[in-house]
């Protein structure tokens, strides 16, 4: 039966080549845009080099203070001392890394300027991430204890500063009048890995800011990597207990006297969605995905209406066929079913074209220098979403014409 439907579909598609072209063009381009967008969102959310432990890690980086009386609030990254005092007090075994927010600085070299991003990290940072070291190694606890002025650079800085393919380890690099010894070279990562990407990594002992200063707010993020997945809820509750005991000190600001504090250990995506929805309680993940889905549906609606329109024209053309089949006893349901299946086959063909088109687009984006080091991938997650969206699209645009067709009167249909 299904095979029969398929045969009819292909025959119909070949009959009106122009219509087939228009339908397929619309379907495949719509799906391509959706698939590329999905790949990009997946790239932003999913674990990837060098943050391969992202799904098993917890992130603490934003702290929000609220003044419920004056209705004011202020939020920003946590401080290094916050991590040392509160985050490192957690009892559940886990690796805790501290990494600063990125800043930029210019390096000058023979009348040539290199604008680079840099971060300060502790030595645990290299354990929770897994950078590929092209040369040398990372700095350790020992380097920090010795107050060594060392730096880990990425291949971009090496190529620009030392020269392509030349050994960099052991060479000195001058930044802000201070000489640092290059201790390792890592393969760079895209800027979209918000907490780990940088051009230079310094051990925190080289920081010019006073890291011992006691303040909740600062310039750091903490990445917590538990020993096993089952520890995650345990760490979260433990941290919530720690956070609830933090005392808010009055800093003498007469407009802003915070009396409530929100800070939590979240998974990667939640740590962001909590920002624009969460008031501490709601994590905002549902809200975020509702919006993404809403935009996708809105975007799909116009091509879908277009397809419905074209399908309607096609049905009218096949009025005699429908009339005859009805006269011979085919039920409305069978006919409607056939038409929906036909439409799904059409969208799936469009989906296959879209997969190839998006592979091309992704390949182009990865190889162009639009975003350095970007590594979009077409994986099974993206693929299954593409298939799901194709089916949804097929249903969306097939049901109405099928319903209209099944209501066609035999006499009317056979009149012409």
């Amino acid at each position: 039966m299904l095979l029969n439907y398929l045969k009819i579909t292909l025959a119909v598609l070949q009959r009106r080549k122009f219509f087939t072209f228009i339908s397929l063009f619309g379907i495949s381009l719509t799906l391509t845009i959706l698939v590329v967008a999905t790949a990009f969102i997946d790239h932003l959310i999913a674990a990837g080099y060098p943050e391969i432990n992202r799904d098993r890690s917890l992130y603490i980086w934003n702290i929000k203070q609220k003044d419920t009386k004056n209705d004011g609030q202020s939020s920003g990254p946590i401080s290094f001392s916050f991590i040392n005092t509160y985050v490192r007090s957690l009892k559940t075994p886990a690796k805790i890394a501290a990494v600063s927010m990125p800043s930029t600085i210019n390096i000058y070299l023979n009348n040539h300027k290199l604008n680079v991003r840099y971060r300060y990290t502790d030595s645990n940072f290299w354990d929770v991430t897994s950078f590929d070291f092209l040369e040398g190694k990372n700095y350790t606890e020992q380097n920090i204890a010795n107050n060594d002025y060392v730096v880990v650079i990425n291949d971009y800085v090496r190529d620009e500063y030392v020269g392509k393919g030349q050994p960099a380890v052991g060479k000195m690099i001058e930044i802000d009048n201070v000489n640092y010894r290059i201790i390792g070279v890592v393969r760079g990562c895209p800027i979209t890995r918000i907490h780990v990407s940088s051009d230079l990594y310094f051990p925190y002992n080289t920081s010019k800011a006073d890291l011992k200063k006691v303040d909740l707010r600062g310039n750091f993020a903490a990445i917590i990597l538990p020993n096993n997945l089952s520890d995650i809820p345990k760490i979260q509750t433990e941290f919530n207990v720690v956070a609830s005991k933090i005392k808010l000190t009055d800093k003498g600001d007469k407009w802003f006297k915070p009396d409530k504090l929100f800070v939590s250990a979240d998974s990667y995506i939640t740590s962001f969605t909590r920002q624009f929805k969460g008031d501490g309680e709601d994590d905002g993940v549902g809200y975020f995905f509702t919006i993404v889905l809403g935009i996708a549906l809105l975007f799909m609606s116009l091509p879908a209406i277009n397809l419905v329109n074209i399908n309607m024209s096609r049905i009218m053309e096949r009025a005699s066929e429908i009339g005859i089949r009805k006269a011979f006893g085919a039920s409305s349901k069978t006919l409607a079913m056939q038409f929906v299946i036909e439409n799904i086959v059409l969208t799936l063909i469009g989906g296959v074209i879209a997969v190839f088109l998006s592979l091309g687009v992704i390949y182009y984006l990865n190889n162009s220098n639009l975003i350095a080091y970007i590594d979009l991938s077409f994986n099974w997650k993206v693929f299954s979403i593409a298939i799901f969206v194709s089916l949804l699209f097929g249903l969306l645009s097939g049901v109405y014409p099928a319903w209209r067709m099944s209501k066609l009167q035999v006499v009317e249909a056979l009149k012409n």
């Binding site: 122009f18 219509f19 228009i22 063009f25 619309g26 381009l29 719509t30 845009i33 930029t104 600085i105 210019n106 000058y108 009348n111 040539h112 300027k113 604008n115 802000d176 009048n177 010019k208 800011a209 006073d210 975007f299 609606s301 116009l302 091509p303 209406i305 277009n306 397809l307 419905v308 329109n309 074209i310 309607m312 024209s313 096609r314 009218m316 053309e317």
Partner: protein
């Protein structure tokens, strides 16, 4: 003729419903694109009120333990910078210097009117560096600091919001906290017409310039034309050497501005690509459907021709019919679109919305006519003898 067309379409409204719906949707998309385009172009076309050529921005981090020491550090920097012949002028500003990513807003009030305004703290040389013109009054100078009032310069947009047609010079403003505030009141000494400090697409906005404070550690400087990385390296090296633990980063304001411009342009560009794809999609669909409908009405065309309709009349009849369908879709679309200026969503002038609606309506008609032209022409060249013979 027109009545006839409307009657025809109305009779077949169920058939044409989908097409109207599609046109309605396309209209909304085109309306959004045109409005966004017109809005941004209008802002872009206004003078920026400042010049970024050969202006550098230096971000200092003194790591100073307290404000007194910071003031001494800043004096050291000033002395050092006057030694460079290639540095024409310089001024310390608050962290929200033009084209940086930070912003500082405050409430100001005058005569019970309260409004939000950007507040930029700058040294008196700031207009010289940025090549800004004061259109009314003057800029504040060092001697103004002595008075009881804090001298300020405001943008024309803020002046009109607070004072309307009155002259602003000499008026005093509160900072939004009412009478019990301890801060000194602000006195307007000058007005500037334009000041686009976020990007070239910024709308006219409120801004207050106040004299700079001790803790302001961002600096703008005008340098000799053609100065490059060499001077930049020299300055940052020699200045950073003046103190322990200093950090300095210099950026070209031109680059900073183009970064900020890209933040506006890139989303608009992506939107434009996606929308033109959608509209192209609709155009192809319309073309196909019209082709189909017209070829199904062969007999009608045959009869019309046989009764004496000319080729031109048939052509115009079908284009007209499509235009009427489009009109139905547009009426619904315009109904929704006029809600934007009526409800004043997004704080955009009504004129921009109306122009957007007008351009979108024209675009839809042009699009529909193009799509209808070829199928209609096919219809008009049909020979009555052949078409009617088939029957």
């Amino acid at each position: 003729m027109l009545k006839h067309l409307f009657k025809l379409i109305w009779k077949r409204k169920k058939m044409n419903f989908l097409m109207m719906f599609e046109i309605f949707f396309s209209f909304l998309i085109l309306f959004a694109v045109w409005t966004l385009g017109i809005y941004n172009y209008q802002n872009y076309a206004r003078p920026s009120g400042l010049e970024t050529d050969n202006v550098w921005v230096a971000f200092f981090d003194f790591n100073a333990p307290n404000d007194t020491i910071k003031a001494e550090y800043k004096e050291l920097v000033r002395q050092q910078l006057t030694r460079y012949r290639a540095v024409h002028s310089f001024a310390f500003t608050s962290t929200n210097a033009p084209f940086t990513f930070s912003s500082m807003n405050n409430n100001v009030d005058y005569n019970k009117k309260t409004t939000m305004s950007e507040v930029m703290r700058v040294e008196p040389d700031f207009p010289k560096v940025m090549n800004m013109k004061v259109s009314e009054g003057r800029w504040f100078n060092e001697t103004d600091k002595a008075g009881n009032y804090r001298p300020i310069v405001i943008t024309r947009h803020l002046k009109e919001e607070l004072f309307g047609n009155e002259s602003a010079i000499g008026k005093t403003l509160g900072n939004g906290d009412g009478a019990n505030s301890n801060d000194p009141k602000m006195k307007v000494v000058g007005v500037v017409d334009y000041f686009k400090h976020k990007d070239d697409f910024q709308k006219l906005s409120n801004c207050i310039f106040q004299p700079s404070d001790i803790w302001d550690d961002t600096m703008v400087m005008k340098v000799q034309e053609g100065s490059g990385a060499e001077l930049e390296a020299q300055i940052s090296k020699e200045v950073a050497r003046l103190g322990k633990d200093w950090s300095i980063e210099i950026q070209q304001m031109d680059n900073m501005k183009s970064n900020r411009n890209n933040l506006v342009l890139v989303p608009v560009l992506i939107l434009l690509i996606v929308c033109s794809f959608l509209v192209f999609n609709v155009a192809l669909g319309l073309f196909g459907v019209l082709f189909q409908t017209i070829s199904r009405r062969k007999q009608e065309i045959g009869v019309r021709r046989a009764m004496g309709a000319t080729q031109g009349a048939i052509l115009w009849h079908f284009i007209g019919e499509t235009a009427v369908i489009a009109t139905f879709g547009l009426i619904l679309g315009v109904f929704f679109a006029v809600q934007f200026p009526l409800l004043n969503v997004f704080d955009v002038e009504a004129g921009v919305y109306l122009l957007g609606i007008l351009m979108a309506v024209i675009s839809v008609y042009v699009l529909v006519s193009i799509c209808a032209f070829y199928p209609s022409r096919q219809a008009s060249v049909m020979q009555p003898a052949i078409v009617l013979h088939e029957e």
